[in-house]
């Protein structure tokens, strides 16, 4: 009995009971489609997140107060007061010294806190950042209209604000033609001088909903800190993407000297864009594995369906098996016959499942696009390969027991079976 023959016979046998074969195949189709689409969604999420992080610029570094061990995540160290010395404007000055830190292009200190924006009865709670004019270049901000905070605003501690497009939408219901309006932040009047261009998700989530005011104004009136020159976070731009690691080392050295910390007991954390990328890749990787795992369970259930139907088939065809044995079929011939059938079931299911999974991924991408979310599920060759191999393996594995059961039948008994 050759494989080609076994294949043809299996095809005939399966097509002899189309409804049953179809339902069994359906189990595998759902399993494989789930695996394919879940992996695609996971990969797509990873690509879109890392993509948006990269779009911010990979030469960006963040410096927080608190040791790396005490950081719960990006920005988490802000409140971890204890004995850690806070970062100060003087720290920022020191870091921007081109001789001490040649890899640093510019530094933008900031303090951040929550506040309520209001205009004409509309209220919205959001993040208020007190920033310096450098912030715009360091973060690569673009203005949709108006201007960004400049040195004059800083010196005069002026009550001016630059809004993210979402923040403008929330309180004005639009994000154009709002320059010159006066809004209230924590009940103090602020004049809108600019609106930023939307840029979607960032390292800290979307920054489109934030409001930016001059550092000095924030320090004096809105976000008071214990000392006048205390800052929450330093945004540092490295000269190039390649010099980020070097810049990180330089910053660390300067801060260690200034804070007089013993080696290995830093009271600050330097986080790079690459660190964020890695963190998010780890998170989305786990997410993908998790989704794929759940989908894999449905594939397993499909496999049990195959085993079930093969066992029924063996019982039903006991006489046929007896006859085949009487005519000279060896153990191996019967095993091959039934294994071919079960593998064929799962293979057909696998192929249809791949097509379905691809369609589902495509549909998810379309829905995301319709909702203005830049998110494209990615059906990877590795996922297709994985699903194919896994489904074939499922067919083989769950076919082994029924096939052996068939092959182990005694011809005399099997022929007598009614």
């Amino acid at each position: 009995m050759t494989i080609a023959q076994a294949f043809l016979e299996a095809l005939e046998s399966l097509s002899g009971n189309k409804l049953r074969s179809g339902l069994t195949v359906l189990g595998i189709v759902i399993g494989v489609a789930a695996v394919i689409s879940m992996l695609a969604v996971g990969n797509g999420a990873q690509a879109s997140i890392t993509g948006s992080i990269t779009s911010i610029g990979t030469n960006l570094l963040f410096v927080f107060r608190g040791s790396p061990e005490s950081q719960q995540g990006p920005g988490g160290g802000r409140g971890s007061g204890n004995n850690d010395r806070p970062l100060t404007l003087a720290d920022a000055e020191a870091i921007s010294d081109p001789f001490a830190a040649p890899s640093v292009e510019s530094v933008a200190p900031a303090i951040q806190g929550n506040g309520v924006l209001s205009f004409g009865g509309e209220n919205s709670s959001t993040t208020i950042s007190g920033v310096t004019p450098d912030y715009s270049t360091v973060r690569n901000l673009e203005l949709a209209e108006g201007e960004f905070i400049n040195q004059e605003h800083m010196l005069g501690r002026m009550s001016v604000v630059v809004l993210g497009p979402e923040a403008a939408d929330t309180i004005f219901g639009r994000h154009d033609g709002v320059v010159g309006e006066t809004i209230r932040i924590e009940n103090q009047p602020f004049r809108v001088i600019g609106v930023l261009v939307a840029r979607g998700g960032g390292a800290f989530g979307s920054e489109d909903g934030e409001a930016y005011i001059p550092f000095t104004t924030a320090q004096a009136r809105l976000l008071k800190r214990s000392s006048r020159d205390q800052v929450d976070i330093l945004f540092v731009q490295a000269t190039t993407a390649e010099s980020v690691t070097q810049a990180s080392d330089e910053i660390a050295n300067i801060l260690r000297q200034r804070h007089r910390t013993p080696i290995g007991a830093d009271d600050f954390t330097v986080f790079t864009q690459q660190d964020f990328l890695q963190t998010f890749e780890t998170i989305t990787g786990v997410l993908t594995i998790f989704l794929g795992g759940i989908a894999g369970i449905s594939l397993l259930v499909g496999g049990i369906g195959i085993m079930n139907i093969m066992l029924v088939s063996v019982t039903e065809r006991t006489r046929e098996i007896g006859l085949r044995k009487a005519l000279g079929a060896r153990r191996r011939d019967i095993v091959i016959q039934f294994l071919t059938e079960s593998s064929l079931l799962s293979l057909i299911g696998g192929i249809i499942g791949i097509i379905f999974g691809w369609l589902i991924s495509f549909a998810v991408g379309q829905i995301a696009a319709a909702n203005d979310t830049a998110f494209i599920p990615i059906v990877g060759g590795d996922a297709v390969l994985l699903a194919t191999v896994f489904s074939a393996a499922v067919g083989l594995f769950f076919g082994i027991y029924p096939a052996n059961r068939a092959a182990g039948l005694e011809p005399v008994e099997a022929l007598r079976y009614e």
């Binding site: 050759t2 006859l323 000279g328 153990r331």
Partner: protein, 231 residues
């Protein structure tokens, strides 16, 4: 003499739970090549057990059995399968055809399991042999019909074609006319006897029917697992 079957002191013991049942209690006989023999006996006499043993579907518990020069009493399952494939053609009372397959595919089935170089991977060779076999039973115009499209007599002819397709040493027919009316039964008997005459294949018929037994050259009678006045 040219013995195709030599059975010496065959015993078969079945264990049914705690109880041992002796279906064959020491049966010895020989059958010559080309002979037509009937095996008769009331139910429970060990007739089926003897047929299964002679057809290599089962091994005797004790004793020796030589089929066409090969001692088969102690062969493995796969070796027995090979012996059945090469040396035994079965004709069953209920035909036992694969209902979804055409006549020619049914006849081809033993060749698919053949390890003979002539048929291994040789589709055309198998098909030709199957056509020859169907011609020998007079069904050349029904080759692509399925069993459900054939009469009982025609189905049994297909089964006979399947039995002779691999030129076996013996044909084991178990009540071959049991499911047929007497007229068709007679035709099937004549076909079997003619095949025996033309090709000299040994024919062993297990039957209740004395009319059929009369047409054979010799009757082996069994009673309670022993030979009953064999002649």
């Amino acid at each position: 003499m040219d013995w195709v079957i030599e059975a010496r002191d065959l015993k078969k013991i079945y264990k049914m739970g705690e109880v041992e049942v002796e279906a064959l209690r020491g049966v010895s006989f020989t059958i010559q090549r080309g002979e037509v023999v009937a095996i008769m006996g009331p139910s429970g006499s060990g007739k089926s057990t003897l047929m299964n043993t002679l057809g290599c579907l089962d091994r005797p518990s004790f004793g020796e059995y030589v089929l066409d020069g090969e001692a088969v009493a102690s062969l493995s399952d796969d070796q027995l399968a090979d012996i059945r494939n090469r040396k035994v053609g079965f004709v069953f009372q209920s035909f036992n055809l694969l209902s979804r397959q055409t006549a020619i595919t049914n006849v081809e089935l033993p060749l698919r399991y053949s390890t003979h170089a002539r048929y291994l991977g040789n589709r055309r060779g198998r098909r030709e042999q199957a056509i020859q076999s169907l011609k020998a039973v007079g069904l050349e115009d029904r080759m692509t019909h399925r069993p459900t499209e054939l009469s009982g007599g025609q189905q049994q002819r297909v089964a006979i074609a399947r039995a002779i397709v691999n030129n076996p040493a013996i044909i084991m027919a178990d009540e071959p006319t049991g499911n047929l009316d007497s007229k068709v039964g007679k035709e099937i008997m004549n076909l079997l006897l003619n095949l025996n005459k033309e090709s000299g294949t040994t024919l062993i018929i297990v039957t209740h029917d004395p009319v059929i037994a009369e047409q054979t050259q010799r009757v082996i009678r069994l009673r309670d697992g022993l030979l009953d006045g064999a002649s």
